[in-house]
Amino acid sequence: MATIITKEQQEKEKMVTLVSSDSEKFVVEQKVAEKSHVIKMVMNCCGIESPIPVRRVKGDILKSILEYCEKHSKGEAQEVMEKWDKEYMDKAEKDLVFFHDLMLASHFLHIQELVDLIAVTFAGMLKMKSPEEIRQKFNINNDLTKEQEEHIMTTFGWAFQPI
């Protein structure tokens, strides 16, 4: 990835270099990078001649995000995109830590489509689960008092009926 790109080449293909927090370099087309509103704004005011540091995002996450942006800047048919999105999510959700970082990064970079996609997948993990199952899956420590818990259970009893 760390190939040296001359200025002429950059202008011809409108390429831009993005640098992750761990100094990994990614050269992508401008329209791919523009999928992120934040990067778009930075490019608009600073130009694309020099590499743009994306300090808050690690290399593996940025790589995955750019893969998404590249696919989504091609304008392919809806069915193809839906299938691709599903495969992309299936791969990402296997590692919760990675998935979590991916969501934070896409939120930080303002890629709304990707945030929505991740939120839907997250919602799928929470669906039809009892509070205890959710706590176990996400290692959530239950710090509610007995009274608080009972209060919720009685107020919204219908929601806790066996699924």
């Binding site: 299938k83 919760l96 934070l104 929505d116 939120a119 929470l126 919204f156």
Partner: protein, 519 residues
């Protein structure tokens, strides 16, 4: 002794170890900012939101701020408890926006003033997506049942962009404007034709309109004159005798018909922008075939022969076949289209349907792309009708006939999805010799042979075998695929450059990859 690889290995292991422990111990999801957690929760039903918000203090108060309230799958929709639950969910909001509100409520149990209160409440909270289904839990008859009346407050909602109403009645105010409304779905909604026209003319941004079983017993007239009215879906079940359907929409791009429409007459006025039409009519087993109907459908389709893309369901193909076989229509009107470029047809590849397929090939003189979706073979009364009319197998169209005069020559791409028919083969089919399995689908091969022999400009033919092949063992499946390929490739061709490409079996329905087709 220095062993750098060893050190490296060790550090890698540690890294992995940390990552692993990280994964099992740390609660990361609770550290996400509120905005993201609310976004996740906005994709859940209310009962799921409640369960999630019961896990810890971090989550406890989030339910009050979730921007969407969705009660459509709540199990208690037929009890008074449901009304209280909805009221409770709404009353704790404060001033926050309610972006989406979806609710299914039984009109028998729900008092009108409850629905009034909910709609007025969410409208005052700038709702953007509203879904209200009042269909009761029993068979309905539109004429007798009292429909739920939509409160006047709805018509003052300036942010609403998607509206779905089922089993409701609309009483339009004299002056109103739903300025942001883009999608409107009305189901079992009764209105006079004047009302519909007034409604449409007061929704200046409306782009998608769906009418499902509306005005079944009276004439339906759709006047969509605004510049954004681009998409219209009309779905009608059951019989509508002696009523008319009229569509007048100068900016309409796509038009979809579905259900089992039996409207007596169709009028299309001012449809000059129309690009694609989908006739997705279906019929049930009980549906009685009547040659008279087919004649009418033939006239119906004549209205649309100037569009670019046309989709026909299996029911339509059967109708066209009857028309072609009985020679109806040829003397009355001559449906020749020189604009249709892409046709998608659903066929069972039954031998009597070939007449309908050839009818399309003959009459759409500028067809460039033909997509055939093979659907499961079901019994119809089609064959019986032909027999009653005095037509027997000998009069069906046969691929060997030389009656291909006028067969258009622009067709460059043909795609056949789901060749070899049925969705799943019986368990005994495994033992049937491969040759016999293929021989049973002889009409498919004959039609492919016919296409390859007669289409001089053909460039590509895509063949996708049926998903049903997955029910066989792997070795049998491979054997079938080999024999299928061998048969297809040995067919004689008239076009020197034609490529026959067998594509992998698809698992998710029939996906038509447009970009791939254009390559």
């Amino acid at each position: 002794m220095e062993r750098p690889w060893k050190i490296q290995n060790l550090s890698l292991d540690l890294d992995e170890f940390e990552r692993y422990t990280d994964k099992i111990k740390i609660d990361r999801i609770s550290k996400l900012p509120d905005a993201l957690l609310l976004q996740i929760l906005s994709f859940l039903q209310v009962q799921d939101v409640m369960r999630v918000c019961c896990v810890s203090t971090r989550w406890k108060h989030l339910w009050k701020s979730v921007p969407s309230i969705d009660f459509t799958e709540a199990k208690i929709r037929t009890t008074g408890e449901f009304i209280r639950a909805v009221n409770k969910a709404l009353s704790n909001r404060g001033g926050l926006q309610i972006r989406e509100f979806r609710v299914c409520v039984d009109s028998d149990l729900c008092q009108i003033n409850n629905v009034d209160y909910w709609i007025t409440f969410v409208v005052s909270h700038n709702v953007e997506v509203l879904y209200l289904d009042c269909t009761p839990d029993r068979p309905v008859s539109v004429n007798k049942d009292k429909l739920c009346l939509i409160p006047q407050s709805l018509y003052r909602c300036q942010y609403l962009h998607t509206l779905t109403l089922k089993f409701c009645q609309m009483d339009l105010p004299s002056i109103f404007c739903l300025a942001s409304l883009r999608k409107l779905h009305l189901e079992l909604v009764e209105f006079t034709n004047e009302d519909l026209e007034v409604l449409l003319s007061n929704c200046p941004s409306l782009k998608y309109l769906t009418l499902k079983n509306c005005s079944k017993y009276t004439h339906l007239r759709v006047f969509a004159k605004n510049s954004h009215n681009e998409n219209l879906n009309i779905h009608e079940d059951g019989l509508n005798s002696e009523t008319d359907l009229l569509v007048s929409a100068p900016n309409l791009l796509t038009l979809n018909f579905s259900g089992q429409s039996k409207r007596e007459r169709f009028f299309g006025e001012n449809l000059k922008s129309l690009v694609s039409v989908n006739f997705n009519f279906s019929s049930t087993y009980r549906h009685i075939w009547d040659p008279e109907d087919c004649f009418l459908f033939g006239q119906f389709i004549d209205h649309f022969c100037y569009v670019k893309s046309l989709k026909l369901s299996n029911w339509c193909i059967l109708n066209l076949s009857i028309r072609a076989i009985l020679n109806l229509g040829t003397s009355v009107s001559n449906m020749v289209s020189n604009t249709v470029n892409e046709a998608t047809l659903a066929t069972r590849f039954n031998k009597c349907e070939l007449a309908g397929l050839v009818y399309v090939l003959k009459n759409f003189i500028n067809l460039g792309v033909l997509i055939l979706n093979v659907v499961e073979d079901v019994e119809t009364k089609f064959e019986d009708i032909l027999k009653d009319e005095g037509f027997y197998e000998t009069t069906y169209w046969k691929p060997d006939e030389l009656s291909v005069v006028g067969l258009q020559q622009h067709l460059r791409t043909v795609a056949i999805h789901g060749i070899l028919g049925s969705k799943s083969f019986s368990s005994t089919a495994e033992l049937v010799p491969t040759e016999d399995i293929l021989d049973r689908r002889r009409t498919e091969f004959e039609f492919v042979r016919f296409l390859l022999k007669n289409l001089k400009e053909l460039e590509t033919m895509f063949i996708t075998p049926t998903e049903g092949l997955n029910t066989f063992s792997d070795s049998k499946k491979l054997d079938i695929l080999f024999q299928l390929s061998s048969r297809l490739l040995s067919l004689p061709r008239s076009s020197p450059n034609v490529q026959v490409i067998i594509r992998p079996i698809q698992h998710t329905g029939i996906g038509i990859n447009r970009t791939q087709l254009r390559l």
